[in-house]
Symmetry: C2
Subunit: 121 residues, 2 copies
DNA sequence: TGTCTATATAGACAGGAGTCGATGCCTGGT
DNA sequence: ACCAGGCATCGACTCCTGTCTATATAGACA
């Protein structure tokens, strides 16, 4: 039996039994360069950004930008608010933490200890 | 000119000029549940994991697992080493930090301050 | 050398995702 | 009431990707 030989020098590893569908879904939302640029722009604006400004800054047609904003909104990363004829997007509170937490689940690090680390800095 | 009206109450936001292709590429690699499970398994093993164990733990055929491992390897997150007939995968040193750094680029936080925060915990 | 096992590669296929043009909805102004 | 502009939705198209089967490669062993 060959597996006996391997086990002797490999000590086979408890494998992850859970599924990572939720985390993968978050990463998928960030897996597009244009969408990531939209998210980064809003994140670094530390406030709200008008859709018209986002559209103007991207080499995409308006419906495509609207589609990306919808994806970001529906996964819970962004919030939108209409004022007059314009729509403004902002980060959902805790969005960045949610992303770091997803990474921590993957890396096997508790999100509590990570937040403690960030708070100490 | 309508934009004048909007500018008065929107103060248009410096938009991100850089492209986030590199970061989006990293997130894309993690955007598949099976691939994320593979990565999490290896990350939490704190060492190397045999391909045969990964294949046994997933509801996928062997070539599909091999494909996912290739993707993780070619993006720089995993390293592979052959010993006898078996191949072992491990995390590339700094892989987790690279992912957090990518998030920090998006969130507008310097990776230096983040690492300092983690080191202090 | 021949065979068996473990892994990688090649090719094909189906479903998903990004993009666009056309159109509809909402709001403000005339 | 009508028009104009900003944004969302719809439908279609194309490319990408995850998956499979079939096959090749590499190493161990007889």
């Amino acid at each position: 039996m060959l597996s006996r030989v391997r086990d002797a020098q490999c000590r086979p590893a408890r494998l992850q039994s859970g599924d990572f569908t939720k985390q993968a879904g978050l990463f998928k939302v960030l897996a597009d360069p244009h969408r990531l640029k939209i998210f980064a722009t809003i994140a670094q604006a530390r406030g709200e950004v008008c859709v018209c400004d986002i559209t103007a800054a991207l080499p995409l047609e308006q419906p495509t930008v609207s589609h990306h904003l919808r994806v970001l909104r529906e996964c819970g990363l962004l919030l939108s608010e209409r004022r007059a004829t314009w729509v403004y997007y902002r980060l959902t509170p805790g969005a960045i933490d949610a992303l770091h937490a997803a990474l921590d689940v993957v890396a096997g690090r508790s999100s509590l200890s990570r937040r403690a680390g960030r708070a100490a800095s």
